[in-house]
Point group: C2
Amino acid sequence: MYVGRALELLRKANAEVGDRVRVVRDDGLVLEGILMPRPRGGETIVIKLRNGYNVGIKIDRIVKIEVLEKAKKVERKVPPPPSRRPEYPLVKIIGTGGTIASRVDYETGAVKPAMSAGELVEEIPELLDYADIEAEQLLDILSENMMPSYWEKIAIAVHKELLRDEVSGVVVAHGTDTMAYTASAIAFAIQDMNKPVVFTGAQRSSDRPSSDAAFNLIASVITATKAPFAESVVVMHGETGDTFAAVHRGTRVRKFHSTRRDAFQTICGKPLAFVWPWVGEMKVIAEEYFPKGDWEPKLKPKFEPKVLQLRAYPGMEPDLLLLAKEKGYKGIIIEGTGMGHVPERVIPAIKELTDSGIFVGITTQCIHGTVNLNVYATGRKMLDAGAVPLGDMLTETATVKLMWALGNYEDIDKVKEIMLKPLAYEFSNRRLLNYYRLSLNA
Amino acid sequence: MYVGRALELLRKANAEVGDRVRVVRDDGLVLEGILMPRPRGGETIVIKLRNGYNVGIKIDRIVKIEVLEKAKKVERKVPPPPSRRPEYPLVKIIGTGGTIASRVDYETGAVKPAMSAGELVEEIPELLDYADIEAEQLLDILSENMMPSYWEKIAIAVHKELLRDEVSGVVVAHGTDTMAYTASAIAFAIQDMNKPVVFTGAQRSSDRPSSDAAFNLIASVITATKAPFAESVVVMHGETGDTFAAVHRGTRVRKFHSTRRDAFQTICGKPLAFVWPWVGEMKVIAEEYFPKGDWEPKLKPKFEPKVLQLRAYPGMEPDLLLLAKEKGYKGIIIEGTGMGHVPERVIPAIKELTDSGIFVGITTQCIHGTVNLNVYATGRKMLDAGAVPLGDMLTETATVKLMWALGNYEDIDKVKEIMLKPLAYEFSNRRLLNYYRLSLNA
């Protein structure tokens, strides 16, 4: 909410957040748009223009504010869910928050958006070309605030849907910051998956003309109905234009750009499939996957949150590792340099941790390529200290898998065995050199 | 050294590490090669075959060991440095250790390899096509053990060479694990650089047929003599074959594959140049760089090692950040999710740190793209808590720059000012979308 002089000014005009207003500036500029919530700082008010951009206007320069239309304050009229058409597959969309859910938020000024099937198909009627839609708002959090305990909630909700015969697949709308973590968590928490579980999100909110929300949702619904694989995947833009989407395996995907729409990449492998949402086509390119089937998926949704994720760097001190012991962490994933190295002077701390029954797993901060602790002396000393090299498992996936292994198994030897056993293609079975490319687009 | 039964067996044969031996196994297999130091574990001996591969043979299965040739135990005959040819430029090669220096190591069984100009040109005579070579072994460490205090040593040694009129450029041979860190450190520690400073290394040791050591050294010497830019750069394979090398800006480069020869990539930009070592050609593609010149470079070699580097992840707890305060760290770089976010519940810890005068800088774990803390509520709360967004500076570069800023400036406001001021192209001046590519090579 606005405070101080801004609030005073708005009160005088009887203008509230969400109202459509006209603002006149001292130089004669006239701006029309929706009054947005208070920006950081305070001495401006913010208007969302029709083109989707937000403009801040200094309070001192405002000559006049006029309300053109009050925000619809009454209960949002939620359109009724579309009726079921038996000849179409049914897709369940589960909302968890994030940019993909942000439109409703802005337009109503409401803090908690709800996602209803009626609204979804009203906004994106193309969805009905491929499936009937059921929707549920399970959570409403920005994905940077995602916690292992939420993964459990999501796993239970998704599992419930997978058990329903009439559901073809599940789509989970999620913020992009930690979407790869959650997709990976579901890959472990639901075993013997029987149908596709598709994570999707948006890099630009739906109130911006360049939003990728609708495109990604359509591609996800197509994936949920047409995919021959029963895996936890991420579906997002395949390139920066609106041509096709890529389907990435949840355990092998990484957010690789902070803002681009094609931010997600499959690491050490290729995507499972591509989807052309405007024509409803999907092309599977993976040679191997877990197929769909009519068995019953198993739920193992526990995650141990006391796992430390660290990154080796010059100057790294043992105290960073020893924190794990002091604070009761059960495991630690260290993203080493090169083939997985840490500075030699922190190796005694690794030994101290493993001697105390704390699992120490090693990944590489090179992102591409595999860990190998047998090549150099440092690596061999790390092995002697009890560190467990995790192949080419991504740091994010390794962290999730360790939380899951510690959440479901007590014995440290069993945890180690689980960490090294491929469960959901988290180790890439071929490390083809082709899947790494140098940015030589000079 | 070998111990126990293995030592007994070797003593009986009068075989020592470094000797050329013939081993006969109980199934009749005969292996010839250099006896290598004791492997981890112990019940095997290791032979390096002529093709460069190491083979372990179980002690129980050894029928016979025979020494073919004793290791040359006397002082290594160091070839004299080649005499100076005044018509050729002079390049100084400074050795710091790592894979690139590992050949001598294996062949002599010596622990400390020395790098002499005579040996270098004996092994890689092509170097003499481009320059006269002077060499110095400054350090001998695996780069995972690199410390901020070593950066100071390297900066002083490089600076000394840059002051010599007859030196055209400096090449620093370095392990690849943390080479990007050191290249970045030199970019800050030596200001107003007057000549190129070229970091290079090897992903495969020189005793392996696929070694990239010679190729990279030749490309580096060419760069040191022909480059029009006076910057700290990394020169490594440009693709997996032996065709060309890429010249990466030290502050914008990252080791991006644990094993490939073309492991290094320029992030958010293109390489400065390419080099074809077999024909001695260099093509500069950068539009902007710091040019060569006959001014005097300034030395500012201090680095504050008490900097924490952390990575945000779901489940991250405030205790990880508060460690900085408890253990007397002066600054911290957090690699946030997406546009630089951390879980909201650790934001009070950021405030506690900044209130205590600890610098908190934010980068993105997406690697590509820039930090922006103004878009989402979480980011704005981080700004309110005093976090400093560092644009598209790489996490590695940000860590080095913070160590450098804290090492040279006492006042925290000055440190903040320095961190946000572009000094060595550590902020990319254009974030062209082209420099990010999706792995769609299906």
